[in-house]
């Protein structure tokens, strides 16, 4: 009886360790790094994905780098630039031109030293502008108290004033791509 219990315990333990090794990969360290030291431009469209507050709403429509069209973008901004995906101008169909730094993930195997890289969605924004005309949430309300919108053509752009663009100056939110796999 004791032998059977011991074998069962051992089997479960080995199974759990294997699952842990496969899923958690404790032998692998991960980090993000900039793809290049030069900023690139991307054109993104605001898609009103409301699955969660953490859903990114910016999807690439054009890029002068190798960021694929349709990719979700996770914008990170320094303190003196507002986030392009949250504000009165955060409205479905609005198009933004973002300038900044693209990233890649590095998966480093601590045992073999091998490194695998894959595209990251992070994008450190140093400048953005909205394409005209664009829609904004109005401060006025409708007869039933409903939020109204306005279409504007006034230029709207922000630029990071600092010459120092080190990654630590850009605030990264806990974004997820809510349209992944759909």
């Amino acid at each position: 009886m004791m032998k059977k219990l011991f074998v069962a315990f051992l089997s479960i333990t080995v199974f759990l360790i294997l699952i842990y090794l496969v899923v958690a990969k404790p032998y692998e360290t991960i980090y993000e790094q900039r793809v290049s030291t030069d900023p690139v431009n991307v054109i993104v469209e605001f898609v009103n994905v409301t699955g969660d507050s953490n859903c990114t709403k910016l999807y690439v429509t054009k890029s002068d780098s190798d960021i694929k069209n349709g990719s979700a973008l996770f914008p990170s901004t320094p303190d003196d630039i507002p986030a392009p995906d949250d504000g009165a101008y955060a409205y479905a169909g609005n198009v933004f031109k973002l300038t900044g730094y693209a990233y890649e993930w590095v998966f480093r195997n601590a045992i073999t030293g091998n490194e695998n890289k894959k595209k990251s969605r992070r994008f450190d924004v140093i400048k953005w502008e909205i394409m005209s005309p664009y829609t904004v949430w109005s401060e006025r309300q409708g007869a039933d108290g409903e939020p109204l919108t306005e279409i504007l053509t006034t230029p709207l752009a922000y630029e990071f004033k600092s010459e120092d663009h080190q990654p630590a100056l850009f605030k990264m939110n806990n974004y997820i791509d809510c349209l992944a796999g759909q």
Binding site: T50, A72, D86, G93
Partner: protein, 253 residues
């Protein structure tokens, strides 16, 4: 005379709050247009917490809630409402590791530094205690100490009529994640339906919803895309397009 309750929730993003409110008003107008002579009361309620949701439901008289629409963020665990913390809270050993493991193979894996601190807290309505803990691990959000979180057992289900219609317009409340929702836990829509009469309908989205992609062009309408329908806890429609859904007891516009 019964009550139709339309609830729209808070979000950390003002654009989402506006979208939810627009969708709620659009639904109210839809009910008014579909039942122009009805004496039923249509209640539109904005809520900031799960407890607000249960209070709004429980305030309805016994057996008189005809329909419940909730427009919100969502996931398999429930109606998700989160808030930014003024001061981030250090994640515990288990929470930090659980968060890293769950997100390890996602589109944004979490580094050790990402998981170190929790920057948001949770305030929604979830299936039960384990669901809210699971959601907190996924997002790395604070769940303990949030006294305004509610779970399904806080709801007085006797307020619903026997053939009530409940629709969750937010995302993924009817998603079935292999293993998690097939062997361990049911999704939120199914759990909600378990508590209702077998004639009552519960509709939940399978995927994430983006109302601006609605083929009907109405940017304030979540009633499209893949949904699951439950009756008395039994799946009666699997992954059907909401815009084509036609059920005998469906009284929504």
């Amino acid at each position: 005379m019964g009550t139709r309750l339309i609830i729209h929730t808070d979000s950390r993003k003002q654009s989402d709050v506006n979208t939810f409110e627009s969708a709620a008003l659009s639904l109210k107008k839809g009910y008014q247009a579909k039942y122009p002579t009805s004496k039923d009361v249509i209640k539109l309620v904005f809520v900031k917490t799960g407890k607000d949701i249960t209070r709004a439901i429980n305030s309805i008289g016994k057996g008189s809630l005809i329909s419940l629409d909730i427009i919100s963020h969502g996931n398999q665990g429930g109606i998700h409402i989160s808030r930014d913390l003024v001061t981030p809270v250090k994640a515990g050993f288990i929470e930090k590791n659980a968060h890293e493991i769950i997100r390890r193979n996602s589109d944004r894996p979490q580094t050790e530094a990402d998981a170190e601190f929790k920057e948001e807290s949770m305030h929604g309505l979830y299936s039960d205690s384990s669901s809210k803990v699971g959601v907190s691990y996924y997002y790395n959000q604070v769940v303990t100490g949030s006294t305004d979180i509610a779970i399904l057992s806080d709801i007085k289900f006797e307020v619903f009529t026997d053939n009530a219609v409940v629709e969750f317009h937010g995302c993924r409340t009817a998603e079935v994640i292999p293993v998690l929702n097939t062997y361990l836990k049911d999704n939120f829509a199914k759990n909600f339906s378990d508590n209702l009469n077998k004639k009552a309908v519960v509709i939940g989205h399978v995927t994430n919803s983006a109302p601006d992609k609605n083929p009907n062009g109405n940017h304030s309408d979540y009633r499209y895309g893949s949904v699951r329908v439950y009756k008395g806890g039994v799946l009666v429609r699997d992954k059907v397009d909401r815009s084509k859904l036609n059920l005998e007891t469906l009284t929504t516009p």
